[in-house]
Amino acid sequence: MTPAPPAAAPAPASDSSSELRIARLEGQVAALEAALERRSRELQVLQRLLCPRDLVQWARVAAGLPPLPQIAYEPGYWHETRELTVADVPATLEALWYSLHPERPSGPAGPAGPLRTSR
């Protein structure tokens, strides 16, 4: 990202309203650029510290989208475990389809949780 320029010097006193307006706008631009730079640093820290899945989750939530389901369906987001997680077929499939087509109206019932495994 391009470094932000230093904050603009205060505008010289003038009776001209247009000069005053320009000075105010330059001040706003400088403040926005400073905020953008701060935000950029925060994002770089998050990118460094968060795993890809958490980063995606955070980005989705920040963008107003629903988070991905608890179980990852794409290898990129897997936690490569050897342990089996007990899950429920209906809840898992509902969450899977929703993750593939989040634009569809029906939302997931929640994370696929443990169920009785006996019969």
């Binding site: 794409e74 290898p75 897997w78 429920d88 499939l93 389809w97």
Partner: protein, 659 residues
């Protein structure tokens, strides 16, 4: 109405809100030709007054609480002459308009049908009842269903040992022949007793799975467990005196079954099914874990199976010198067979058997394998003993086309594959073929349920190395998820087709289950599953040649397996996608064939026939050489009467309403 005359008998004791809900929901169903009688069992709340305000109900008021049996019998006595009766608890809720008509049709579907029950679910939707059974070992009646999530299991019509009388359709001829509920019991066991009496008189009991009612179990008696337990134990003792000998006599012979049951393996899953089916068909099996320390699989087996029948079978005492024992597991544990007559039952995924397996097999009286493929392999490997094909099966109550589907709402065509990541399944073959054949723009998806327990395998890395095209067919994964086996039918039913690509199979249970669910399937045309797969019920995948089996598994060393044709796989994937009606018809043919030929009952029959042929099953051995049941065993600690369905061991000896 052209059907039979029917009297519905609702037994009520206090708790008007339950009775009111029952009657309100009942009134919204089709009751044409039926009379509704409410037996007020001496209620002391507003029930008597409120009933007076319901004109379509005939009320029979008893002066005091006569108990479940006498209350129902009063209703039966008051029923319209010649009518069939339906006994109903007041804590039922009706959500199916044609429930009564369906029960009546089932009851009159054959002359020897006498009693009909239905599926019942708890208010939260879990399956409470799909029939009952009782083990002579414990005389603790069990409801089939085990609080499973309702995925449409047991939705057909099946013969059962008994039903709970929270809802019981009884044909008039049965009442005429054996009378009403036995007065031996105040409450509990009267329903099991009635079904046994009916069976004695030649009448079957059926579960009509087409009907589901909501049962707010013990709605009338909740909170009084101690009194219920005393009542239950008293009835249980009466039941024992009446039926113990009869129930013991259902067993034709005893069999020691050494295997694996309580681990998530293929042998364990099929072992459980075989034990259930054998027990139901009169073989008193005694189970012992065949693996453990100093074997090829050292872990100690967990005790609880989560299944009452299997727990009882596992808890039975082993005979000192078992006449016959079957070791069902890998061939390198055959030597642990403890029977005087020894049977080894195994399978393998390649075209031969390891030397050590054959050596141990040659010390058996006979060897069983599930397929002709394995029979040839054993003989080619030097087996000298008699060998017989004893196929496995599938539980069509849980795997059939009526099981619930949770299909992709976007309408994509979904191919499903289930496999453990490894050399034998060679997932890369399927993933590449699918990804190459289809484009990302096409409404089709491959859903892979992948298991990996091998610490030396990194699935993510292996998938990355496949370099699947972003513009190619799209794949989704369910990674290392363990679904309850009873729910797997719903997974199959949520897909459009099933793909089983592998180098070899010892049986291929997922394939059989998918076929039983009515899915069109693609399967490598080589291996044990050729026993039940053919071009009329599936799409066999061409094999280019048979090649040396190269895998981590040491049992495969020196043997061969198939090399499936990737081009033909692509052709078949595309063919199913584009010829959906044809594929659907083939899947339906598969479902019919599985239900007709490949059930666990059929598998048990084959085993019994084999035992009989080798002289291990006396022709008329009812009860002979079997331990006589004496006093009732103490109830397991966790078998306390459930207050609201919390116990895994469900009592089935009466619905406990109006006691």
């Amino acid at each position: 109405m052209s059907g039979p005359r029917i009297t519905l008998i609702v037994l009520a004791w206090n708790q008007w809100q339950l009775t009111e809900r029952c009657l309100e929901t009942l009134a919204a169903t089709d009751l044409e030709g039926a009379e509704v009688v409410v037996v007020d069992n001496g209620s002391t709340d507003e029930t008597p007054e409120r009933l007076q305000g319901i004109p379509w109900v005939r009320t029979l008021r008893l002066p005091s609480n006569a108990g479940f049996v006498r209350g129902n019998n009063a209703g039966i006595a008051a029923a319209a002459p010649g009518s069939d009766v339906v006994l109903l608890n007041n804590d039922l809720e009706f959500t199916q308009r044609d429930w009564m008509r369906r029960l009546a049709a089932c009851a009159h579907s054959a002359p020897d049908v006498g009693v009909v029950g239905c599926r019942m679910v708890l208010p939260d939707g879990r399956l409470l009842h799909a029939g009952t059974y009782i083990m002579p070992d414990t005389l603790w009646g069990q409801q089939v269903g085990s609080l499973e999530r309702d995925v449409g299991q047991h939705a057909g019509i099946e013969e059962v040992e008994g039903i709970v009388f929270a809802c019981a359709y009884i044909r008039r001829e049965v009442l005429d022949a054996i009378g009403p509920l036995a007065l031996d019991f105040e409450s509990y066991f009267e329903d099991t007793d009635f079904c046994l009496r009916a069976r004695h008189a030649g009448w079957k009991t059926l579960l009509c799975g087409e009907v589901t009612l909501i049962h707010d179990e013990h709605g009338s008696t909740r909170g009084d467990d101690r009194a219920l337990m005393e009542l239950f134990q008293g009835s249980r003792e009466i039941f024992r005196r009446k039926w113990q000998r009869e129930l013991d006599g259902r067993y034709r012979c005893q069999l020691l079954w050494q295997s694996i049951m309580n681990f998530p393996t293929g042998y364990a899953m099929s072992c459980r099914e075989l034990l259930r089916a054998l027990d139901e068909q009169g073989v008193r099996t005694v189970y012992r874990y065949v693996y453990g320390p100093k074997t090829v699989f050292p872990p100690v087996e967990p005790e609880a199976s989560g299944d009452y029948r299997l727990n009882v079978i596992r808890g039975r005492a082993k005979p000192r010198s078992p006449q016959v024992s079957v070791v069902y597991g890998q061939g390198d544990v055959f030597a642990r067979n403890q029977g005087r007559r020894k049977i080894g039952f195994t399978m393998l995924e390649v075209d031969g058997f390891p030397r050590q397996w054959v050596e141990q097999a040659n010390r058996m009286d006979e060897v069983w394998v599930p397929s002709e493929f394995n029979r040839r392999g054993f003989l080619d490997s030097g087996l000298k003993r008699p060998i017989h094909v004893v196929p496995l099966g599938v539980d069509v109550r849980y795997f059939n086309p009526r099981i619930a589907s949770f299909s992709n709402p976007a309408g994509e065509y979904v191919f499903l594959a289930l496999f453990e990541w490894g050399e034998r399944k060679e997932p890369g073959l399927l993933l590449r073929a699918f990804n190459d054949e289809f484009g990302a723009h096409e409404p089709v998806r491959l859903l892979c349920k992948v298991i990996n327990r091998d610490p030396g395998v990194r699935v993510k890395e292996e998938i990355r190395r496949l370099r699947l095209r972003a513009a190619g067919g799209r794949v989704a994964y369910l990674f290392n998820l363990e679904f309850p086996h009873y729910q797997l039918g719903a997974l199959y039913r949520s897909a459009d087709a099933f793909v089983s690509v592998s180098h070899g199979e010892g049986w291929n249970m997922p394939l059989m289950e998918a076929m039983a669910c009515g899915l069109p399937t693609i399967a490598t045309d080589w291996g044990a599953h050729q026993e039940f797969v053919h071009p009329g019920n599936a799409y066999p995948l061409r094999v280019r040649k048979v090649v040396p089996a190269r895998a981590k598994c040491p049992y495969y060393d020196g043997f061969r397996w198939a090399d499936p044709d990737p081009e033909h796989l692509r052709f078949l994937l595309r063919h199913l996608y584009e010829h959906r009606d044809e594929a659907r018809a083939r899947g339906q043919a598969a479902a019919r064939e599985m239900a007709a030929r490949w059930t666990w009952e059929a598998a048990a029959e084959r085993i019994i026939a084999r035992l009989s042929a080798m002289g291990a099953l006396p022709a008329s051995a009812a009860g002979r050489d079997l331990p006589a049941s004496g006093a009732l065993p103490a109830l397991p600690v966790n078998d306390a009467l459930p207050a609201s369905g919390a116990s895994p061991a469900r009592q089935a000896g009466g619905a406990a309403t109006a006691v």
